[in-house]
């Protein structure tokens, strides 16, 4: 396992280098002068020259990249032009909120998707199975930002059960209960599509596992049905499910940007969108880099989980 971990960590290096080149490239290869884009058309020549100098924009691109990446590896992501503060503490300050939202949504979609998928496989063609099929079609077709608004209108505005937006109440908030109440709507919105995807995959892999000989043997031995489904069926269906949960984790991390905007959730996504609208390149670069890094770490964790679940993978 240790050798596998070392190999996976080594493989991460070229991907991260590539990711950093892409992030640097997309923000620097854009048409026009970045300094002019950032300062707007009203800027004076002196201001433009000063900004170009301070950002090192007069150097050739490869030199700029080396300069930027050498600062990045030391934890210096530059200064935000709009907030006039270092980027890294700003992004890290928001990362907690994004990870909380993404993590909760992942937990919801995994637990909900597994339960729904196992039940659909245990009772195929039941009303539960059919409604889960319809729900998955709806989940794949519904814009998450629209679902968020619908949930907000129903549960916050009409029924008044849950707060409409933000992370804490403006007055008298701040406790765990307050945070959880604010978390429910965005987490459900974000998780909705993933629940249905995980449920459908769990159903099909479970059906396959339940059709195997060892399941018939277990039944013949007189193992209780719940034991057959969970211990013999689910355990053997887990590998593909872990794959899709891993894919969904990345999807949720990206989708969080939209959900955060709908619910004014103070995460990296809202910060990044504000950064783009303010043409604050260092801030946008920092946000994308931190989220891409988080995504790489999640992928690594999923791979390690595989290797732990299925020892054959370690010796490939």
């Amino acid at each position: 396992m240790r050798r596998y971990l070392a190999r996976r960590l080594l493989l991460l290096v070229p991907v991260l280098v590539g990711v950093s080149i892409v992030i640097f490239g997309v923000l620097h290869l854009s048409p026009g002068d970045p300094a002019e884009i950032m300062l707007g058309s009203q800027a004076t020549k002196e201001d433009l020259a000063r900004l170009r100098e301070s950002l090192g924009l007069n150097e050739p691109l490869p030199v700029q990249y080396v300069h930027w990446i050498s600062h990045v590896v030391r934890g210096d992501l530059g200064r935000s032009l709009w907030m006039k503060r270092p980027v890294l503490p700003e992004v890290l300050g928001r990362l907690g909120a994004t990870l909380l939202l993404t993590g909760t949504a992942l937990l919801l979609s995994t637990v909900g998707g597994l339960a729904l998928g196992v039940a659909s496989a245990a009772w195929p063609r039941s009303w539960l199975d059919r409604s889960s099929a319809v729900a998955s079609l709806f989940g794949a077709s519904m814009p998450s930002f629209w679902l968020g608004i619908v949930l907000m209108v129903v549960f916050a505005l009409w029924l008044g059960w849950l707060p409409a937006s933000g992370m804490y109440a403006s007055y008298g908030g701040g406790g765990v209960g307050d945070l959880l109440a604010h978390l429910i709507l965005p987490a459900v919105t974000l998780a909705a599509a993933s629940i249905t995807i995980i449920a459908r995959l769990t159903r099909s892999t479970m059906l396959e596992a339940l059709g195997q000989d060892f399941v018939r043997t277990a039944r013949a031995k007189g193992v209780a049905e719940a034991g057959v489904v969970l211990r013999h069926g689910l355990k053997n269906a887990l590998i593909p499910i872990v794959t899709v949960v891993g894919v969904q984790a990345g999807y949720l991390l990206g989708g969080a940007v939209l959900t955060e905007t709908v619910f004014a959730w103070p995460g990296v996504g809202t910060l990044m969108v504000q950064g783009i609208l303010a043409r604050d390149f260092p801030l946008v670069q920092g946000c994308v880099l931190v989220v891409a890094l988080a995504f790489a770490v999640i992928n690594l964790a999923v791979d390690l989980l595989y290797a732990w679940l299925d020892p054959r993978i370690r010796y490939e």
Binding site: S30, S141, V153, G250, L253, G255, A292
Partner: protein, 273 residues
């Protein structure tokens, strides 16, 4: 054919009709008897659906919502179809090259797709728009770039397995040049999986472009597009929920129809799955 298959077929036909209706409305928008989508009429702002002269009500500037939805369909449908087509063209080309030619070309193509897939989809699109600047054209470009790796992976996998098959080897032994083998023996096999992937991808791309417009990074005002209509309608959701609900419903119905048609196409073209 059992009742379930019949029901699915009926559903797919209904979905196809809904799609044709949406496309026709979008194409014929200039000749349909609709109000001007950009005419501001503030005394009549935020009218509910069913108001005289405004079947679906009006938005925050008193603009007719039905007209804006129909004109918005032009932007949203075209953006979805065009970005999916662009992703498909780049992706298929790179997938064929990466699958057919081994060595550094293949390595380069595959590393590029690996790196692009190392980002959450919408995040990279947002970053590219960040570099190019907000606007519909840039948003479409970003989504097309971010979307091609799925086609590359799909096509490369098929080409890799085809390359070793006897009929390709036979063609090569007879001295057929590469372009001939690609056109005559490889491309026909790619047709149906790519058509199925494309039909499902258009809906996904409509959602993605609408998402960027919703964030303010796509279509800019006053142009109507379903995503940006939803974004502005959100501010009036307490008093007039219909302004945000209707464009969202339009996206949902069209994408649902595309998914149903895509599933039916898959059943038709690839009966094994």
């Amino acid at each position: 054919m059992n009742s379930r298959a019949l029901w699915r077929q009926g559903l797919a036909v209904t979905a196809a009709f809904a799609l044709v209706a949406a496309v026709l409305a979008a194409v014929l928008a200039p000749v349909l008897p609709l109000a001007d989508p950009d005419t501001v009429d503030t005394p009549n702002r935020l009218r509910p659906p069913g108001s005289p002269g405004h079947t679906l009500g009006t938005d925050e500037f008193g603009r007719d919502l039905l007209a804006r939805l129909v004109w918005g369909a032009r932007v949203s449908l075209l953006a979805g179809a065009a970005t999916a087509a662009a992703s498909m063209l780049i992706g298929v080309l790179l997938g064929v090259i990466g699958g057919f030619y081994t060595g550094w070309v293949e390595a380069l193509v595959m590393r590029l797709t690996d790196i692009l897939m190392a980002f959450p989809f919408i995040l990279l699109a947002i970053a590219i728009v960040g570099g190019l600047g907000p606007g519909l054209r840039n948003a479409m470009l970003a989504i097309a770039i971010v979307g091609f790796p799925i086609y590359t992976r799909l096509v490369r996998g098929i080409v890799l397995s085809l390359r070793e098959r006897e009929f390709v080897e036979a063609a090569r032994a007879l001295g057929a040049p590469d372009p001939f083998i690609l056109a005559r023996h490889i491309l026909p096999h790619l047709l149906s999986p790519v058509i199925v992937a494309f039909s499902l991808d258009v809906g996904f791309k409509i959602l993605a472009t609408a998402g960027l417009s919703f964030l303010g990074l796509g279509t800019q005002p006053p142009t109507a597009d379903w995503g940006s209509m939803l974004a502005t309608g959100r501010q009036f959701v307490i008093l007039s929920p219909h302004v945000a609900m209707l464009p969202g419903l339009a996206i949902f119905v069209v994408v649902l129809a595309l998914n149903l048609v895509g599933d039916a196409l898959r059943d038709l073209l690839d009966p094994r799955s």
